[in-house]
């Protein structure tokens, strides 16, 4: 849609749900949305599509939304890309938001490009920073490319809505405020709009309770320097103790020590945890590309010239197989003491 097609106003965020529960990324996104809406002097709306989700919509208001558009239908229980995009298209064409942002999750990164193609507007992927241009009022979208070694600032001057997906964990949710009041608008559409070419069969939940690395606050990553799949259990142990998730270098994945979903780097996942501990990873540039936006980086490697030491905040030149067991032991002791202290 072109700016000339009418008056576009308001900031929208795309809420996410699984099994009727609103995902935490929806609240992070509202924190971004609130900031943008306030700077633009406009309202913030959130959209949520699902089944048996109506009752949960209020919590989006408690986290910053002024308006929630709810579409609640059995046909939306599972993610059907065609149906979700078709409903969003209806909403966008009717209410004409000026800005529409989603999380850069598998959901957001699937439905938003489809929606952008349908409404003929731009979409900027995986932004880490959003702002409003004071002069023009345009959305300023900043995103890393080539794993963060290039940052690009992007605008969508003449098309609406201005759309982006935003990297998970790039902002903390606002504190829940149950006294906040907002408008819940439930939209209904004819049944035929919910007929999808895609049929849900089953969901196989990962056995691990750890967060996927893209969303993890703490990541412990292992690489070739661990020498053996048996030693890789040290990485798991440390991650468990820290309530973190397990990452890996490409070599560790290629050797079959851990599945691909744990790979950090240019051909794996880009992560931005608060703490990234790498053990036995030399830091090929392709790996660094995937973790350089971590807040704090700790590196353990026996080669003092390893590139990972250039990008770490605390580096240990030593054998990860000697350091990790001691670290694990110390953390276990502390945990026991804490538990005793509480009882």
């Amino acid at each position: 849609m072109k700016t000339s097609e009418g008056k576009f106003q308001g900031v929208w965020t795309l809420g996410e749900q699984r099994d009727g529960e609103i995902s935490s990324v929806s609240y992070e996104l509202l924190a971004w949305g609130r900031e943008l809406a306030d700077k633009r002097g406009t309202t913030l709306a959130s959209v949520i599509l699902g089944h048996n989700i109506k009752e949960k919509a209020e919590s989006l208001v408690h986290h910053g939304a002024d308006i929630v558009y709810v579409v609640d239908h059995p046909g939306l229980e599972h993610f059907a890309p065609d149906v979700h995009a078709a409903i969003l298209e209806k909403l966008v064409r009717e209410f004409m938001p000026e800005i529409f942002i989603a999380s850069a999750t598998t959901y957001g990164r699937t439905v938003m490009p489809v929606l952008a193609a349908k409404v003929e507007t731009g979409l900027t992927a995986d932004c880490t920073e959003l702002d409003i241009d004071q002069e023009t009022g345009l959305l300023i979208q900043t995103r890393p490319a080539i794993g963060g070694n290039v940052m690009a600032t992007i605008k969508t001057p003449d098309h609406r809505p201005q759309m982006s997906t935003v990297r998970p964990r790039s902002k903390k949710p606002l504190a829940k405020d149950e006294s906040r009041k907002g408008k819940i608008i439930v939209k209904e559409y004819p049944d035929e709009l919910y007929v999808s070419k895609v049929k849900f069969i089953e969901f196989i939940k990962d056995e691990t309770t750890a967060l996927p690395i893209q969303e993890a606050e703490i990541i412990v990553s292992g690489g070739k320097g661990l020498k053996d799949v048996k030693n890789f259990t040290l990485v798991h142990e440390l991650a468990d103790l820290l309530n973190g998730s397990v990452g890996a270098s490409r070599q560790a994945v290629d050797m079959g020590w851990i599945p691909y979903s744990h790979q950090v780097g240019l051909s794996g996942k880009t992560v931005s945890p608060r703490l990234y501990i790498s053990a036995g990873i030399s830091g090929a540039v392709q790996h660094i590309a995937g973790m350089s936006s971590a807040d704090v980086v700790v590196a353990i490697n026996n080669d003092p010239d390893a590139a990972i030491f250039k990008v770490c905040d605390f580096g240990i030149v030593g054998d990860a197989l000697e350091i990790l067991p001691v670290l694990i032991e110390r953390l276990r002791e502390r945990k026991t003491i804490n538990v005793k202290g509480e009882s």
Binding site: K118, I201, Q263, I288, F314, G315, R334
Partner: protein, 263 residues
Amino acid sequence: MRIVVLVKQVPSTDKVKMDEKTGTMVRSAMEAELNPLDLYAVEEAVRVKEKIAGTEITVISMGPPNATYAIREAIAMGCDKGVLLSDKVFSGADTWATARTLSSGLEKLGQFDLIFSGERATDGETGQVGPSVAAQLDMPALTYVSKIREIGDGRIVVERAVEEGHEVVESSLPAMVSVVKEINEPRMPNLMGKIRARKTEVTVMTAQDVGLDSSKAGLTGSPTRVVKVFYPSLSRNGTIVDGKDPEKTVEKLLQFLKDKALV
């Protein structure tokens, strides 16, 4: 079955180096290769072809004239035909305009049952072109596919690798499937493949050939504008300690983490 694989030529990832002084990454613009994540899409297409008789695979790309190199790499792995959409007016395209151009090319080439793409390209890293092409051609976008369970009789059953596990869905064909790395182990092209790749003519199509209005292509046809590009320095001046005495080193590390409120 008619299959198409969307591919992109990207600067070679092996050539990425870190600039010692600035701490930024530099890539040689001279060396190019087939996007590493597209190899998995090509491999999966070839596996479908090996299973279903009479399957033909077309590789398509939008890019500069030398992008035929990436297309030939895919042919060497077992694809049959190559099409390069190349025209001055295509340059500077964002994902929307790229998808529009690819879709116009595909419409010219006839009906396809299955469109494969990689998860994303290792340079732009958007992952938007596949789903966007699906939307333009009115096909369902099956993204992050880690396994094809069944295919045939106008339907496909896939596993999608999503945040908390794997979602299994069935879709009618035609459909667009973007694959993740865990789906397969791409083959190395054999000598026969390489010879065939060299001999196969890659069809080059311009905006006029695909019937695309130049206002819908390239920079002119792109809703987004890059207004600034900058190179952040990645180096941190961290504390480096000797780890010869693991006990003492771990104490120092724990103190560091405590100071940062991380433990």
